[in-house]
Amino acid sequence: MKLFEFLGYYNYWVFAILLMIGFYAVIAKANLIKKLIGLSIFQSAVFLMYISMDKVEGGTAPIIKPGVVDQLYSNPLPQVLILTAIVVGVSTLALGLAIVVRIKERYGTIEENEILDAD
Amino acid sequence: MSPQLAIMLALVVPLVGAALIAITGRLHDNLRETVTLITATLLAVIVWSLVPLILDGERPEVTLLQVMPGIDIGFRVEPLGMLFATLASSLWIINSIYSIGYMRGNKEKNQTRFYICFALAITATMGLAFSANLFTLFLFYELLTLSTYPLVAHKGDAGTVKSARVYLGVLLSTSIALLLTAIIWTYHVAGSGDFVLGGILRGLMDPASVGLLLALFVFGVGKAAIMPVHRWLPAAMVAPTPVSALLHAVAVVKAGVFTITKVIVYIFGADYLFSLPQSGWLVYLAAFTIISASLVALRQTNLKRLLAYSTIAQLSYVIMAAAILKPMAEIGAAVHMVAHAFGKITLFFAAGAIYVAAKKTDIAQLRGIGRRMPWTMAAFSIGALSMIGVPPTAGFVSKWYILGGALQAGHYVAIFTIIASTVLNAAYFLPIVYMAWFEKEDTSINTNTSVIKEHGEAPLLMVLALTITAALTIGFFFFNGTVIELEKQIVPRLDSS
């Protein structure tokens, strides 16, 4: 079972690493689309964190099997939350991309520093 | 008329007056000015009707509304406020008469705005005089600052706006930064800011903090123009002369010294302060202001600026008197407010009259002017004598009381200051009087056209106004019993000691 414990930590580390990669891209990249890509990695990392905590050792997806007793199920609540969060994420992304498209039209560039220079 | 109603009317009448002025201003000038005069007279009648009650020892109160728990907008008439309100409302009539002459004679623009703001300033003054607690006082204090700003900036050109900025900047900054802090501190310590005879802070603070609080009050009340927060007063000389009169005699600076006196008498309690050495510095500061302002005045070449510095010195008289903390001195402080008001308004009226008639502003231009404008210069001379404190003028009465108080306290610095400043006053006023009456008119300095050279007296209304104030200055020497009686009430506890 040691491997399972390792997976637990690993899951959490990957969450942290992904979060940092995404966050880094958002801050450091000047390209607006790249920023949004970073943002979506950033959000995905959080999804991973939530889903990691719903796991129950020896459990299955939370779809009740009638007649089966003593079956462990994973926690449905984080899943529900993340379903919502995923849709929220794509909505934000779409809006962000729409703005980027307009920026390209008005400024002719999607690089942050060039936009700043233009004004 | 119940006293409560009278108090409310004293606030409402000038306010309604302002509204009526705004309406009639569009219709006709004469109508507008009639409204001003009627309002002023009505107000004076209302305020005077309260005097007998106060003399009988009554203290009518009105609470308008409770803003926050423990914090009311309320009014309570007591002798100091009564005196101030009576003074301001009475002088408003005279000042209005004078204003009409001045504004017309000078063909000023925006006269309606001028009269509206004037009425608002008087409203604020009434509220300030009758305020029952620090909160109400502060409310009207700021209203007074704001309503006089358009008056100071009346001319509207770049230089005037700049000076008006100094005026507003100093007054608003000091009040928000220091006075408000002091007030909130008082509320915090005492749980209220009500004006109670004998003070509300006794035993609630350690002596060092009392000294600090006093400093916050003194410097926070920028209107009292104690050094170093006096800069606004010379700056405000850009205003039309009736406004200067309002600032120096009727309302603004009087509001300053009134506030400080009221705080000393009703918040700290004079005898409590006297028992604390930490409050002694105030006399020295006031003395310093008196002497240095007088010295600065000595070097002025512009008549109005000279008068401004003279005011600074005279205000510190009041503060010094209040800070001596002895009964006679407290009475002297109150009396000096009146005496100085009469004297200074006369001087300003005269200066304004000279400006309107001859367009002269410098002292050096005044040679021989007494022959052309005998009434004006006679009044000027009376005012000047009152400033020096020569009997039979009002100035003598107050100086008498202040000196008495200083002797009572054995305060030698104060005594010396009074003597020295009397000499200095004489040194800057008497030469002007001498020049005006006894020297020949100097045509070389007056480079203006001959039209102006051939001037006589100022418009009749202005001469009328300044004659009245000059008469009051002398009259006060003989008939000051009521005022003394009134103000004795603010020091009953000390009176026996």
Partner: protein, 331 residues
């Protein structure tokens, strides 16, 4: 075995993420993002979150990628090199990282059935869903009933995004709506995708409908179904061109779908209020609370599906129509 697979997946996720950020070709980045989503989806599946996996696959790998690509077509495909701002980024990221690592130590371990998450609220759902709802998928039960209000909010987030994109992309110095779509041939000249795609489209729609109406019993529900059906239509418009796609589902119909979906959800809630219950308390709709809840859930799930599908289509077409104009102008 699963655990090894999970560890492998997680490692791949990190590698992909690094590659995404490193690549200066935006097209490559976007394609890698799609792969990233698929990996993530698989990982969710390993962690017993079937519903989320399905959603991530449909939304993350599918719709997101398409929208990204349409935006790329309108902007740029190459990132310009820029090195400024790295220092600050590293500091901020470092601080955040240390904060998270600090929290690691006291965390409950993975899969611990005694962890607080599995104690308080969650067991209630697992124990009562069958009895109160009459169907086995607890995720659907929580989504549409226990926390139906969240889902309502989510539908309106989608709605907001939809009107936002329409609003922002419609803003060409105002001479009325620009619903003009020029010739766009799609992939008509390419035979194989054409044939394969045409066969696929109806099946995708069918699958979407299955996911929609089977949500109570297996993984799935309105979100997934909406996203999947939207994918089918997007595929159709890629194959047949914008015009044909818009003939099939006009813009007004897309927007109408969103509005009807959102309103349907909301009106069910209001109906519950009128019938004397609380907002979204479906049990008052009929005599038998269990049946009533099932009916309510079916209706609101349909609303969710319509709203998501319509919104995704609207958003896609808002981008796609613009690229059609732009290419025309360029020519």
């Amino acid at each position: 075995m699963t655990i090894v697979f999970a560890i492998f997946l997680l490692t791949m996720l990190v590698i992909t993420a690094v590659a995404i950020v490193q690549s200066s070709n935006l097209f490559v980045s976007v394609m890698l993002t799609s792969i990233f989503s698929l990996l993530m989806s698989t990982n969710f599946f390993v962690l017993d979150a079937a519903d989320v996996a399905l959603t991530e696959a449909a939304v993350g790998a599918g719709i997101t990628t398409v929208i990204f690509l349409s935006a790329l077509a309108l902007t740029a495909t190459q990132e310009k090199p820029n090195r400024s701002g790295r220092g600050i980024a590293l500091i901020v990221v470092g601080l955040t990282a240390s904060l998270i690592i600090y929290a690691t130590f006291d965390k409950p371990r993975l899969g611990d059935p005694d962890a607080p998450v599995h104690q308080h609220v969650a067991p209630y759902y697992l124990d009562n869903t069958m009895e109160q709802m009459g169907f086995p998928n607890v995720v659907t039960a929580v989504l549409s009933s226990y926390r139906g209000y969240d889902t309502l909010g989510e539908v309106f987030v989608v709605f907001a995004a939809c009107i936002g994109v329409l609003f922002i992309l419609d803003a060409r110095t105002g001479t009325g709506p620009k619903y003009v779509t020029r010739k766009m041939t799609g992939l008509r000249h390419h035979l194989i995708p054409q044939v394969v795609g045409r066969i696929l489209v109806p099946f995708i729609v069918l699958f979407g409908l299955y996911v929609q109406f089977h949500g109570e019993y297996g993984p799935g529900g309105g979100f997934q179904a909406g996203a999947i059906i939207a994918t089918a239509f997007i595929l159709y418009s890629l194959l047949e061109g914008e015009q044909a796609a818009l003939r099939a589902v006009p813009r007004s119909a897309q927007l109408g779908l969103v509005i009807c979906g959102a309103l349907m959800f909301g009106m069910v809630g209001v109906l519950c209020m009128i019938m004397g219950g609380e907002f979204l308390d479906y049990s008052v709709l009929m005599e038998n609370p269990v049946t009533a809840r099932q009916i309510g859930i079916i209706v609101i799930e349909a609303g969710v599906g319509m709203a998501v599908c319509g919104a995704m289509l609207s958003i896609f077409h808002a981008f796609a129509a613009r690229s059609a104009e732009d290419t025309d102008e360029a020519v």
